[in-house]
């Protein structure tokens, strides 16, 4: 055969082999890359770092513990163990003998037990065989039965033997245990002493990076049971909207934020704050006795953090408010609420960039953005405080930036008027309520519906002021009052700012704006009513008027000055709204009111605002004619003449024509519009334009204007604004601008929060660089908000989301809370907190009243304090009872409807967790109780301040106001007003109910036990009290021991006092007049009720029927 010709290869085999070798190595490396890339995760590095931190912490604790553990004590124990061992060694023979004995008996026991078990099994089997042979009538039946009997006997022998052996073995064991026990007790003691160290050592093992943990976390091996793993919380009743469905949230934030629920990793700043807070609580005995040790330990821990050389950085910090959030004992535990329910963000993400972190400021954004992201995450990124952050336009729920954290409260707490401990969010919602954002922007949310119009009624404007004033006011309300809430609609940035609008357009805009203001004024004045108001009959005294305004309570809602001294610079400057508490911005600033209106109108307005406008929010202070005249005289002195000197340009007919035509051509042809306008005189054109301008600017949203009823508010609905996609916000072309409010440079970040913030601060900013026609320009008016106000409003807008929450997670959804919240809303709407403390907050008026004895009452305990029938009457008509007749400040008549009054009464009752109606009033008291009560009353010298003479509730005599120590309510009014149980409670702990009250604390708490102490316990035996003692003894059947015991019992004493006070109370007052103004006739008092059994242990037996039924 011919040898085959060699066929040449197309490629060099050597070359191919080389390529193969190289590419194989390449493939191997690529595979390694897969594993490595999968292994190197950002969160792992965070966990590793946290483990290192924990290790450091435990090691330092360990060192401390080892130092702390009493070394001498340990040494002593060691010595005793050794002594025992020596002792055992000395008696070794006996011990060995005992042990040998035990070994022998153990062996015996095993053997006996084995025999016993075998025998038992055989016996059971034999029983079956015997039974079966008998039943089957087999011939060997009797034999089997006999065999069974024999085995049974054998079995019984074995049982006895086993019991015997067991007893002997136990005895032997006991002998050995005596020896062993000696060693064991010492060892147990030692273990106890070293328990904390052992625990720390155990913990150390779990966080150590070396050893077994290292192997568990190796790549490819870490599928078994790694210590680095993704942590998560599944929240089945908080949802993520994925458009097609709602899925439960799965929060993985704690994968990196490892310490979020572990105290001890606070930042230094937080640690300092917490230390102060806890120390204060500790010092004021707010912490229960058994928890004081824990708190002290915690303070020590926080102090260590403060002193540590390095500050803990995020993401390893502890949540700063563990008592409120995340902590397992807090109202929002981590396992139930997670993180993203409040903070938003991508719940399932485990990377910094994808989790939706949002920088709080442009500076932070620059820092995050400037760092270059690397392909492989690692410590090099973290050093830049950056973790592959990028602006992600596809993340629909980015986190709230730091300054808006509280926005997260709204989705669950939207049914509450104020949130417990939520200062920021409460301020934010109150700000929105105060400015009336809800009037132009529909917010379909319980908190922002069913509220009054924020602006005054304009249907009688001609009665109140002049067109000249109105023109200047609308042009720029801030020129008249720096604190006004009326926003500036005209001459704003997008109309006249030279840097934004070119000159020719500017001039046209000014002419147009002039024309629009003229048209508004013309319309309002031509449609206004002209009721004649009678001026005051006599001349008022401005001096007295000023006193009245400052004292009767006007200052709770009004501010009287536009100027104040700046605390920082010491210069006088124009006041801002946030210089005052929110409540005092409720009414307008009184400055310039004399320029704005005239005597007759003021006089009638302060007499009763409802005469002018039925829905006026201002209540009546029941001024007499003379008082009203005085107040009028004073208010007229508040002039602002320079405001009226600014020039008013007459309306340009061409501008009016252009603008009016602009509206007409929407429905008419150009020709018809021209014809129609030609037929109208300028005044009619202005009226027409005015009507259209009111529609354009939405004046009717805030003000009551006839003819505009039922029109929809003009603003964008904000109900779910916080969920609106970013691309639906029109950023225009602006990124940076100089704010006109404070001249600061502002940068608009590419997120919703920044957009909204800049929108409310500079509402026309997004028109910069836009080419728009006059009518298309942005119209939102400028409220001249400060940075804080703007931030708060933004917070609310961001919080209005469509995030779904299961009903059980919503706050205040139960019926009781609903009743309370309705009441709270009324409290907020009527500005009760201007004068009173409600729910622990309020009383803005306090700053204007020097003597705290003359302040309006603190209503925090009002629910458990006041009887509902009395409260109802008092709210309807405060003149039915004067509790503290010496007060200058007056409870106004609000002209509440029955329904409103009931809402408030219910609120107070529910807040005090008290039934609305009870039967205590009808109670008849045992005479003995009254006498004892009277004696105690005398002993405590209550009569020094309190008067007990029966009085007319409407006009009780005024005590000498100069002697403020005698100013206490007349106690005969108590029975009508106060709840029976509350009286005793109040006497025991007045300072706890109303901190700073003038009522002295007669029964101080014992710091050790927390119980009440009675001052009479010691006093009863002193000579000064001898007469009281003799007076009391008969009521204790002469038993001095019993008397002394009662005198130490604060609860019994206060109950006696209550009974006495109850006995002297008057029984009837006048009913409130339906319209709350005119007093009616007093009703005769009712006869006394039947007798009740005397009380025994100083505690009145409650009449149960009345409780719990008043809801």
């Amino acid at each position: 055969m011919k040898p085959q010709e060699p066929i040449p290869h197309n490629y060099s085999m050597r070359g191919l082999n080389l390529i193969f070798a190289l590419s194989s190595i390449g493939l191997l490396m690529a595979t390694g890359l897969i594993v490595g890339y999968d292994y190197v995760r950002g969160w792992k590095w965070f966990q590793r770092e946290f483990m290192r931190m924990q290790q450091e912490r435990i090691e330092s604790d360990l060192r401390a513990a080892q130092l702390e553990t009493n070394k001498t004590q340990l040494a002593d124990l060691d010595r005793r163990v050794r002594e025992n061992e020596v002792d055992i060694a000395r008696h070794r023979d006996q011990y060995v003998l005992a042990q040998k004995d035990l070994d022998r008996w153990e062996g015996e026991h095993y053997a006996a037990d084995q025999d016993f078990r075998f025998a038992k099994a055989r016996l059971d089997a034999q029983r079956y065989i015997a039974e079966a042979s008998v039943v089957e009538k087999r011939s060997d039946g009797p034999r089997q039965l006999a065999e069974y009997k024999r085995q049974d006997r054998h079995f019984n022998d074995l049982v006895l033997r086993l019991q015997d052996v067991t007893r002997k073995r136990d005895a032997a064991k006991a002998r050995v245990d005596v020896w062993l026990g000696k060693i064991k007790t010492e060892e147990d003691k030692r273990k106890e002493l070293t328990a904390s160290v052992d625990l720390l050592n155990k913990q150390l093992q779990t966080v150590q990076l070396t050893g077994p943990n290292l192997i568990l976390n190796l790549p490819m091996l870490d599928f078994v049971n790694p210590t680095f793993k993704v942590d998560q919380v599944v929240l089945s009743d908080l949802f993520v909207d994925v458009n097609y469905m709602h899925v439960p949230r799965v929060d993985r934030c704690m994968t990196c934020h490892r310490a979020i629920d572990r105290p001890g990793f606070e930042s230094k700043k937080e640690a300092a704050r917490l230390t102060q807070e806890l120390q204060q609580k500790l010092d004021s005995f707010q912490i229960a006795q058994e928890k004081r040790k824990d708190v002290e330990d915690r303070i020590a821990q926080l102090k260590r953090i403060e002193d540590a050389p390095q500050d803990t950085l995020n993401p390893w910090r502890t949540h700063p408010k563990l008592d409120l959030f995340v902590g397992s004992a807090s109202p929002h535990p981590l396992l139930d609420f997670g993180c993203t329910a409040c903070h938003r963000g991508q719940d399932r993400a485990t990377e910094f960039g994808r989790a939706g972190h949002v920088p709080a400021s442009p500076r932070m954004e620059r820092r995050w953005a400037s760092a270059v992201s690397t392909l492989l995450p690692g410590p090099w990124d973290y050093n830049k405080r950056h973790w592959a952050w990028e602006e992600n336009p596809f993340n629909e729920t980015p986190m709230y930036p730091r300054q808006y954290y509280e926005a997260g409260c709204i989705k669950c707490h939207s049914g509450q008027t104020w949130v417990d401990q939520g200062d920021e969010i409460n301020k934010a919602t109150s700000t929105v309520e105060l400015y009336g954002c809800y009037a132009c922007h529909k917010i379909n949310n319980w908190r922002f519906t069913d509220l009054r119009r924020p602006g005054p009624d304009l249907n009688g404007i001609a009665e109140k002021t002049t067109p000249e004033w109105a023109f200047r006011w609308i042009s720029e309300p801030h020129n008249f009052r720096s604190t006004t809430r009326m926003p500036s609609f005209f001459y704003q940035r997008n109309m006249i700012d030279p840097s934004v609008v070119p000159a020719p357009e500017r001039e046209q805009n000014i002419r147009y704006q002039d024309a629009e203001i003229h048209s508004l004024v013309t319309y309002l004045f031509s449609k206004s009513s002209h009721r004649p108001w009678q001026p005051p009959a006599g001349a008022g005294d401005a001096g007295r008027g000023k006193q009245l305004v400052e004292s009767v309570g006007c200052m709770a809602c009004h501010i009287d000055s536009e100027w104040l001294k700046d605390e920082k610079s010491g210069q006088n400057r124009l006041a801002r709204r946030d210089d005052y508490p929110l409540e005092r911005n409720y009414g307008f600033n009184l400055t310039g009111v004399g320029t704005k209106t005239h005597a007759a109108w003021i006089y009638n307005w302060v007499k009763n605002p409802k005469n002018y406008y039925a829905d006026a929010p201002m209540p009546s202070l029941r001024l007499t004619d003379q008082e009203a005249a005085d107040v009028t005289a004073f208010l007229l002195t508040l002039q602002k003449p320079q405001f009226m000197t600014s020039t008013i340009r007459p309306p340009d007919p061409a501008a009016v024509h252009d603008l009016a035509k602009g509206y007409l051509v929407n429905t008419l042809s150009d020709r018809d519009a021209e014809a129609k306008l030609r037929a109208m005189p300028l005044h009619d054109q202005l009226v027409f334009l005015g009507q259209r301008s009111i529609e354009k600017y939405g004046c009717y949203s805030c003000h009551n204007i006839k003819g505009f009823e039922g029109l929809k508010p003009i603003g964008t609905e904000l109900t779910v604004e916080g969920s609106k996609a970013l691309h639906l916000f029109d950023f225009g072309f602006v990124h940076d601008y100089i704010s006109a409010e404070d001249g600061k440079h502002e940068h608009i970040q590419d997120n919703v929060a920044s957009w909204v913030y800049n929108k409310v601060r500079n509402p026309r900013i997004y028109d910069d660089k836009r080419t728009k026609t006059y009518g298309d320009k942005l119209k939102m008016p400028n409220f001249h908000l400060t940075q804080d106000e703007a931030r708060r409003i933004t917070m609310v807008v961001l919080g209005l989301t469509k995030d779904l929450v299961a009903p059980e997670k919503m706050a205040a959804l139960d019926s009781r809370s609903r009743l309370m919240e309705e009441g709270r809303k009324r409290v907020s709407q009527h500005n009760c907190r201007g004068c009173h403390v409600v729910d622990g907050k309020g009383r803005a008026i306090a700053s204007t009243i020097a003597d705290t004895n003359f302040l309006p009452p603190d209503l925090s305990p009002e629910g458990s304090r006041a009887q509902s029938p009395w409260l109802f009457n008092f709210l309807k008509d405060p003149t039915v009872m004067k509790i503290r007749p010496w007060l200058n400040v007056r409870m106004p008549t609000f002209h509440f409807t029955d329904q409103e009054t009931n809402t408030l009464v219910t609120f107070f009752a529910e807040e005090g967790k008290a039934a609305q109606f009870d039967t205590m009033r009808a109670m008849h008291l045992p005479a003995a109780n009254v006498v004892i009560g009277k004696t105690v009353f005398d002993m405590l010298r209550c009569a020094q301040c309190h008067v007990m003479a029966p009085v007319d509730p409407e006009n009780p005599p005024k005590p000498t106001v100069a002697d403020t120590t005698s100013l206490a309510p007349n106690l005969t009014l108590a029975k009508l007003r106060l709840r029976h149980d509350w009286i005793a409670d109040w006497i025991r702990r007045p300072n706890e109910m109303i901190p700073g009250t003038r009522m002295p604390t007669n029964f101080p708490r014992d710091a050790a036990t927390g119980g009440f102490q009675s001052p009479l316990a010691m006093a009863i035996d002193t000579p000064q009290f001898a007469q009281y003692k003799s007076r009391l003894l008969p009521y204790f059947r002469g038993d001095e021991k019993e008397l002394r015991r009662t005198m130490t019992d604060a609860v019994a004493l206060t109950d006696y006092l209550r009974d006495y006070i109850w006995s002297i109370g008057i029984n009837q007052m006048r009913a409130a007049s339906p319209d709350g103004e005119v007093p009616t006739v007093l009703q005769p008092s009712t006869p006394a009720t039947p007798a009740m059994p005397a009380l025994k242990s100083g505690r009145l037996e409650r009449v149960q029927a009345g409780r719990g039924g008043g809801r």
Partner: protein, 407 residues
């Protein structure tokens, strides 16, 4: 630099770039493969076209840019001549293209779109298409030269040689597999999946784009109704591709690269594949932005960009512009001009068969000729309609809304 960017932005407007590409394509085919000269009749025609572009461009700015670019490329190609197929020139062309691409990456707007992970393969596609088309045409050119000199194509010279399956075939295949696997792994690690927001039935992304391989179809939807662009035309594309072996019975050029021997076949195919399919995909990927608006490669994809789009029907041209009268009520009369035009267009084959295309008719036979011509006409309907839309804002040639029939 800005000028160059603006220049390219204007040139890449779909109408302009399409015209440019089509005419350059025709020019390359004519000049380099058919050995045309600028002085010949055809060459003068192309020259005239370029000058016409420039002249009209004096009034319509984009066309001026088109004319300049056209003339520059034409003179460049004429200068290169057959050297276009030199390896060296090819290498430099590739380097030039790559350099242009990577320099463009410095532009933030260009980078934003071109570096988007899901656009990267399409970017690679541009270069791969260019390279392989160039290689094929180069081989065809070399073979044609050899054949013209009386030789045989290069491929035929190696048909007698024999090679082992192993290692010559399988080994190299395995190497390719390994290398490609490495590329895919590294690629998947370096470029992360471009995840966007959760799908939402109430708000679609802007722009809403089809998968890349359907972007040509999506572009066709701009010019035709869905029943045409989405149903009839794709069906005909598939049918046409299946019919190719039955229509193209030219035995020449089998097994080796040649252009001269099958210039119509290759020309039509390349035009359909490169210009009417691949180019539309590239356009759809890189140049169609929010609201399906057109954006140059250096333009920012501004979702607020507004483009005037008032399109009118042929009937309106005919009745309103020409005769200044309202269109007749009866649609049969109103749409008569359009219907006649369409019928006229479709009856071109028999007309041409008697005239200029008689040669083909005789060579292919009636059935093949009519099927092929019909498919060709349908294919050419797309560029025709595109050009009509750009030049005259023509919406529909036949617009019968009464029976929802629009062409």
């Amino acid at each position: 630099m800005t000028f160059i960017k603006d220049f390219i932005n204007v040139l890449s407007a779909s109408s302009i770039s399409f015209l440019l590409l089509s005419s350059i394509f025709a020019f390359i085919v004519y000049f380099n493969l058919l050995d045309g000269q600028l002085r010949t009749k055809g060459g003068k025609l192309f020259l005239g076209l370029g000058i016409a572009f420039v002249l009209i461009g004096l009034f319509i700015r984009p066309l001026l840019y088109l004319g300049i670019a056209y003339l520059a490329i034409m003179f460049g190609l004429a200068h290169l001549g057959p050297r276009l197929w030199d390896r060296k020139v090819g290498k430099w062309l590739l380097i030039f293209m790559l350099a242009g691409f990577f320099v463009s990456m410095l532009d933030p707007n260009f980078f934003l779109i071109a570096a988007k992970p899901d656009n990267v393969p399409i970017g690679a596609m541009i270069f791969l298409l260019g390279i392989f088309t160039w290689i094929a045409l180069r081989k065809a050119y070399l073979n044609d030269k050899q054949i013209a000199a009386g030789g045989i194509p290069w491929e035929k010279t190696e048909t007698s040689e024999k090679l082992f399956v192993w290692p010559d075939l399988v080994y190299t295949e395995m190497l390719c597999m390994i290398l490609l696997t490495i590329v895919m792994i590294v690629w998947s690690i370096v470029l992360r999946a471009p995840l966007e927001e959760a799908a939402n039935p109430t708000s679609s992304p802007n722009p809403a784009k089809a998968p890349w391989y359907f972007l040509g179809l999506q572009e066709m939807l701009v010019y035709f109704d869905p029943w045409l662009a989405g149903v009839v035309l794709p069906t005909l594309i598939i049918v046409g591709l299946m019919a190719i072996p039955y229509i193209d019975t030219n035995p020449k050029g089998a097994g080796y690269y040649s252009f001269r021997e099958r210039k119509w076949e290759i020309g039509i195919f390349l035009y359909g594949f490169l210009v009417l399919w691949s180019f539309l995909i590239i356009t759809g990927t890189f140049l169609r932005g929010p609201n399906w608006n057109f954006f140059g490669p250096y333009e920012y994809w501004d979702p607020n960009k507004l483009v005037p789009l008032v399109n009118i029907d042929l009937s309106e041209f005919f009745w309103v512009s020409l005769f200044h009268m309202p269109p007749p009520r009866l649609w049969v009369i109103r749409e008569l001009p359009g219907i006649l035009l369409v019928v006229g267009y479709l009856s071109l084959p028999p007309l041409l068969a008697t005239g200029p295309f008689r040669r083909f008719y005789l060579k292919m036979g009636a059935t093949r000729y009519y099927v092929g011509a019909f498919l060709f006409l349908i294919m050419m309907a797309l560029p025709i309609k595109m050009v009509l839309r750009w030049l005259f804002n023509l919406k529909y040639i036949v617009h019968i809304q009464e029976i929802f029939f629009n062409i």
